[in-house]
Amino acid sequence: MKIIVCIKQVPDTTEIKINPVTGTLIREGVPSIINPDDKGGLELALRLKESHNAHVTVLTMGPTQADAVLREALAMGVDRAILLTDKKFAGADTLATSNALAGALRNLDYDLIITGRQAIDGDTAQVGPQVAELLDLPQVSYLENLEVKENNLFLLKKQTEEGYQLLEADAPLLVTVLASSFKPRYMNVKGIVEAYSKEVEIWGFDKITVDEENLGLKGSPTKVDKAFAKGIKGAGEIYEMDPEEAVGMIMRKLKEKYII
């Protein structure tokens, strides 16, 4: 079985601050991490490596610094690491990112592609499904569990708002996973010691199969109009009273504010 996990290097948003004047993120000094859902994806792939002898490749598109997340993936136990990097990829929105990833995936062998459900910085949850569409693959998003039935047949458990669905699908397919479903393992010490002596393949535009038009800023229909920090709402007021009194109070307040 061949698995490819797409991972994204993201700023650790728990440590991020917003410039109150410009409304933009202050990225300086914020550590970069593997997007948490993607770490769940790596965990799923590594479990399949242990149980089914799967070969795991990790793929990321990003600037050269994204090398760090590939080393981390190597230290967790993946077999092969590819960094997609090229000036032509710069300024990509989700569509252009998906096009670049699909361009690389066209030149790779796989039975299963795993992406995170969504990235903690962009938060669109678009890249996984877009890649599946571009490659004309079946997709199962919000994956909670995956079992290998027989050759090329997967039994998949998908989270929904009401509960879950059980699905069967043939390889090749793409799944998007949640961090909470696959608690990622730690990097192991031997993996860490060896991570920087392993190869990270660098793939530029010439290594992938895609129209140049669809890449980078040119291939990005999304235009950011304005970025701003959400204003902080004042603390609410708490009243303790019986329901009848409460109804009257709420009505009064709504009128005071000309809402009704």
């Binding site: 981390e72 230290a75 990097m187 010490v189 031997k190």
Partner: protein, 379 residues
């Protein structure tokens, strides 16, 4: 001179910090309170290779160096002093001497189990009447057909109940003094070997510190470590390496207490301002930070020298002496800056202070470290 930490070290620190924060710290208070050996933590550490950091890959280890190992003990101890010493005694006092002084067969037989953490290691030198004066060994190993008969007892042995392999020093020829001491690899299942009294301690209360009792134990000749009569020298060299581990433990405790204190003084208010606004607090913190950084330099330097194959005995002694004293000073000041809260078990500070004290005592007291350092100067 390059003071940068390497990419590998950065990656390692990222992992070990997260591990210590998520897996070790939440258990620290309970392990202390209940005097409970955190076996589940050892299993988790084993799984990711923390029980065999500086052991070569061919013997089942991670193939790391002493700096990574020191960082591991530092970060674990920052969260829990007990966990730090479990790894330190196991690695430095049991796996390391087998790697350094063992025969090829001994390495192949014992290291994979130890490095994978399936087997925990321990080291027995101290006896009731042989503490600082380790040469006064009363445990004997009398040569017999195919091996030795071991009789006697050891006290204060870390990891005792939980270990599977022990490095034991014993007198093979009393007439030769220290040259009559030999080192043996003793397996837990050995007939006549038992674990005696478990100590109730001031600190590192989760680590199992017990007596070892040997009654006519037959030790096969293949389990003699090094040559006959090499035991004392093996023990001293082993302790040189072990001191890096204990120095790292002390460093971690000091750093842990300092980090907690920085957080606390910003939150706690008296006289209408946070404690951090008082100049006394600021100056205390500045001194604490300076000393912790100085300790770190000494520890990393000693670890680096060991990995480079440069003589490091006095460096390890200085690292341990200084870090242990800094740990005691910083944890004591940390309690002071926490006031009454620091004296209670609501906060981890009093535990860190109790844990810190042992670093001035075991693997050579601070007085012994001063002897080693001055001997280097005056030779």
């Amino acid at each position: 001179m390059d003071f940068n930490i390497s990419k590998t070290q950065t990656l390692f620190r990222q992992m070990i910090r997260e591990f210590a924060e998520k897996e070790v710290k939440p258990l620290a208070a309970e392990v202390d309170e209940q005097e409970r050996f955190p076996i589940e933590t050892v299993e988790k550490m084993a799984k990711i290779g923390l029980m065999g950091i500086p052991i070569p890959v061919k013997y089942g280890g991670a193939g790391g160096d002493n700096l990574l190992y020191a960082m591991a003990v530092e970060e674990l101890s920052r969260a829990c002093g007990t966990t730090g010493v479990i790894v330190s005694a196991h690695t430095s006092l049991c796996a390391a001497p087998i790697l350094e002084f063992g025969s090829e067969e001994q390495k192949q037989k014992y290291l994979p189990g130890l490095a994978s953490g399936q087997v925990i290691g321990a080291f027995g030198l101290t006896e009731p009447n042989a503490g600082t004066d380790a040469s006064a060994q009363q445990t004997t190993a009398i040569p017999t057909e195919g091996g030795y008969i071991l009789n006697g007892s050891k006290i204060f042995i870390t990891n005792a109940e939980y270990a599977g392999v022990y490095i034991i020093m014993a007198m093979t020829d009393k007439s030769k003094g220290t040259k009559g001491i030999s080192a043996f690899i003793v397996e837990k299942e050995t007939k006549g070997f038992s674990i005696g009294k478990k100590e109730k301690k001031m600190g590192i209360r989760g680590s199992a510190t017990c007596e070892l009792i040997f009654e006519n134990c037959f030790i096969p000749a293949q389990q003699l470590l090094g040559k006959i009569g090499d035991g004392f020298s093996i023990a001293m060299k082993t302790l040189d390496g072990g001191r890096i581990g204990i120095a790292a433990q002390a460093l971690g405790l000091a750093q842990g207490a300092l980090s907690e204190t920085v957080k606390y003084v910003k939150e706690r208010k008296q006289f209408g301002k946070p404690l951090s606004a008082f100049q006394n607090t600021q100056f205390q913190l500045a001194d604490m930070e300076t000393k912790v950084q100085a300790a770190r330099m000494l520890v990393y330097n000693a670890a680096w020298k060991k990995s480079q194959g440069i003589p490091y005995s006095a460096d390890a002694a200085m690292a341990k002496l200084y870090s242990a004293e800094v740990a005691m000073e910083v944890t004591t000041k940390a309690v002071q800056l926490h006031g009454g809260y620091g004296y209670t078990r609501e906060y981890p500070i009093e535990r860190m202070m109790r844990d810190a004290k042992i670093t001035e005592i075991y693997e050579g007291t601070s007085e012994v470290q001063r002897m080693v350092i001055s001997a280097m100067l005056l030779k």
